[in-house]
């Protein structure tokens, strides 16, 4: 006898049941009709404000869900190239070759919406007597060939800092803030090794607030009462400006950058409405509350293009 060729009736019934169950599953997973989901991904610098926008927008347009995730500007643009997001956040411009990749992959141009500005503040411990710092001094502290290693080199005696060493606090090498600081302050040269490379903007401020010898850079939105922000001058002798909304607008504060949202082609429908709301007075107020600088001095009444 050759067993096993005929399938028992019980097995056939079971198989039928499994198939029926499988057919039922997708029906339960469908989203509620009428809901729209906008995928929004990118810059870590912008993730807080993007989240705040998404949450508030639910009260403005209840049917629209904005799904926000971080990962860095590069991650957002990579997702735009693959066509998997509606809006990519970036704290830098899209590079020419990235724009070319977007065009080749999706047939559409990336469209840029400037949604605000971010100024990088230079933080020190409140006990630090220093009030202002120049670009050259920052480069001397942070750059690979920089010779400034102790606070007395800057003519400052920091109480509580026994070793007189300048403790450099920086960001991990994949951060957009790190790249921006390197480009703007170090003229794209390398950082001096041995800086404390932390994994978040908030951590930088936190460490500086507990370390009298420390100096660090981070978005001005992360300021707390337990740290001091230095004014920055373009060169020795020039006027030093603190990072504020005004000094960012009139470009007198030298370490500021614009924040972008990119879409695939000119947006339409819910995405267009969302971007228009972000650039409206309401959206810009949320941006300002999150510690960033709004797009225009008038409070932003521009329409999305």
């Amino acid at each position: 006898m050759t067993p096993g060729l005929r399938r028992p009736a019980a097995v056939r019934r079971g198989l039928a049941a499994v198939l029926a169950a499988a057919a039922l599953v997708p029906a339960g997973c469908r989203p509620r009709s009428g809901d729209v989901a906008i995928q929004n991904k990118g810059s870590d610098t912008m993730v807080n404000v993007a989240q705040a926008w998404a949450e508030t927008y639910q009260t403005v347009a209840p049917g629209v869900n904005v799904e926000v995730s971080g990962g860095g500007s590069g991650t957002g643009i990579a997702a735009l190239i693959k066509g998997t997001v509606h809006i990519a956040n970036a704290s830098r411009d899209v590079k020419a070759e990235e724009a070319e990749q977007v065009r080749r992959n999706t047939g559409l141009d990336p469209v840029d919406f400037k949604v605000g500005y971010d100024a990088l503040a230079i933080y020190v411990h409140p006990a630090n007597p220093l009030d202002a710092i120049t670009f050259d001094q920052l480069a001397g502290i942070y750059r690979e060939d920089g010779a400034l290693v102790s606070w007395s080199h800057l003519g400052a005696a920091v109480p509580g800092c026994k070793s007189d060493e300048i403790v450099r606090v920086s960001r991990q090498s994949s951060s957009g803030t790190y790249e921006f600081f390197r480009e703007r302050v170090l003229s794209n040269r390398d950082f001096k090794l041995g800086s404390r490379d932390l994994n978040g903007s908030k951590e930088v401020v936190e460490l500086v607030s507990t370390t009298p010898c420390a100096i660090g850079y981070s978005g001005m939105g992360y300021a707390t009462p337990r740290v001091k922000i230095l004014k920055v001058a373009r060169q020795a002798g020039a006027t030093a400006y603190p990072p504020t909304v005004e000094s960012t607008w009139n470009q007198s504060y030298p370490i500021a950058r614009s924040l972008h949202m990119y879409t695939l082609g000119a947006p339409a429908g819910p995405v267009k409405a969302y971007l228009a709301w972000i650039l409206s007075a309401d959206g810009q107020r949320i941006l300002e509350q999150s510690g960033y600088v709004p797009v225009s001095p008038k409070g932003g009444v521009r329409e999305a293009r």
Binding site: K162, Q172, D190, L193, G194, T210
Partner: protein
């Protein structure tokens, strides 16, 4: 076809049931064998995967193993000159581990001796439970303690310019490896036959003499294995050292310097290194480096344990 048992249990129902029970037995046996082998398969698969990701850069012509191992220049994302030297990272791992062991071994072995030889049964049970609890604290919680509590104490009471440094990481790692050292060390001491203790006491040895001249030599292999497993724990730890050591690429000159370890470096950089890029592959290569270090430590521990068994 499945073999008939030698003592055929007669025809009909009984025969058929024994066929199924035989089949079931073989299935269970196969399942147990499979789960036994799976451990080996998983380790080999992990090694294969890491190696496959690292291989393209390992065999490329630009790759310079001397620079990779002995240069302190770690500039994976430089805009002008990308350099991958891991000496500072290896030094950081070694430094933090050695410091952790210098703190953990005296405490761990001391606690093991106390628990196994000196305290009464009730204290012993309490201590064992508390030590096991210490082992159950997640490493990110230790990291948080390092960042918020220890780092402030460091700045206040030492001359350290910054609170996150090698000493901080060493203390945290010591706290994490002490439970391992205590529980395995205590097992090793308990494995010493009571006849040794009785003989020593009969000859008039004091408790200290008993511990130092009889128990420690008799249990030395087990104690060494306990220490080496503690080392393995310290080398492989990631989250807590990432938060405690300051994450600075720097060959330490003293215990108050900030350092970066191989594990913390992978954790911090792999997430955003583009998949398939040179930086990504180099990070996998540092993974192999780490694998080699922990493998050597574990192998040493295993050989030592084997040596104990043979005696």
């Amino acid at each position: 076809m499945i073999r008939e048992p030698i003592t055929a249990p007669g025809p009909g129902r009984r025969h058929r049931r024994s066929f199924w029970s035989l089949l079931g037995e073989q299935a269970v046996e196969a399942a147990i064998r499979l789960s036994g082998i799976s451990a080996i398969v998983f380790v080999l698969a992990i090694f294969f995967f890491i190696f496959r990701e690292a291989a393209p850069v390992l065999f490329s012509e630009q790759f310079d193993p001397i620079e990779f191992l002995f240069s302190v220049q770690w500039y994976p994302t430089s805009a002008v000159d990308v350099r991958y030297g891991t000496l500072a990272l290896t030094a950081g791992t070694a430094g933090v581990t050695l410091l952790a062991m210098a703190l953990a071994v005296p405490f761990g072995l001391g606690a093991a001796i106390f628990v196994s030889e000196f305290c009464g049964p009730r204290v012993k049970e309490t201590l064992k439970v508390v030590i096991e609890l210490l082992a159950a604290i997640p490493s990110v919680v230790w990291g948080f303690v390092a960042l918020t509590v220890l780092s402030r104490l460091m700045v206040e009471y030492t001359s350290a310019p910054v609170g996150v440094n090698m000493l901080n990481g060493g203390i945290i790692l010591a706290l994490m490896s002490v439970p391992i050292i205590v529980s395995i060390g205590e097992d090793a001491l308990r494995a010493v036959p009571d006849s040794y203790r009785e003989a020593a006491v009969a000859m008039g040895a004091t408790r200290w003499q008993l511990v130092f001249r009889v128990l420690l030599p008799a249990a030395r292999h087990g104690l060494l294995a306990a220490v080496l497993l503690g080392v393995g724990r310290a080398v492989g730890e990631t989250m807590a050292v990432l938060m405690a050591t300051g994450h600075a690429v720097h060959v330490p000159h003293g215990i108050l310097d900030s350092v970066r370890t191989l594990t913390a470096n992978i954790a911090a950089e792999l997430g955003e290194a583009p998949a398939g890029s040179e930086h990504y592959r180099i990070l996998f290569l540092t993974g192999i480096q780490l694998f080699a270090i922990t493998f050597a430590v574990n192998l040493a521990a295993d050989l030592v344990v084997r040596g104990t068994r043979r005696r």
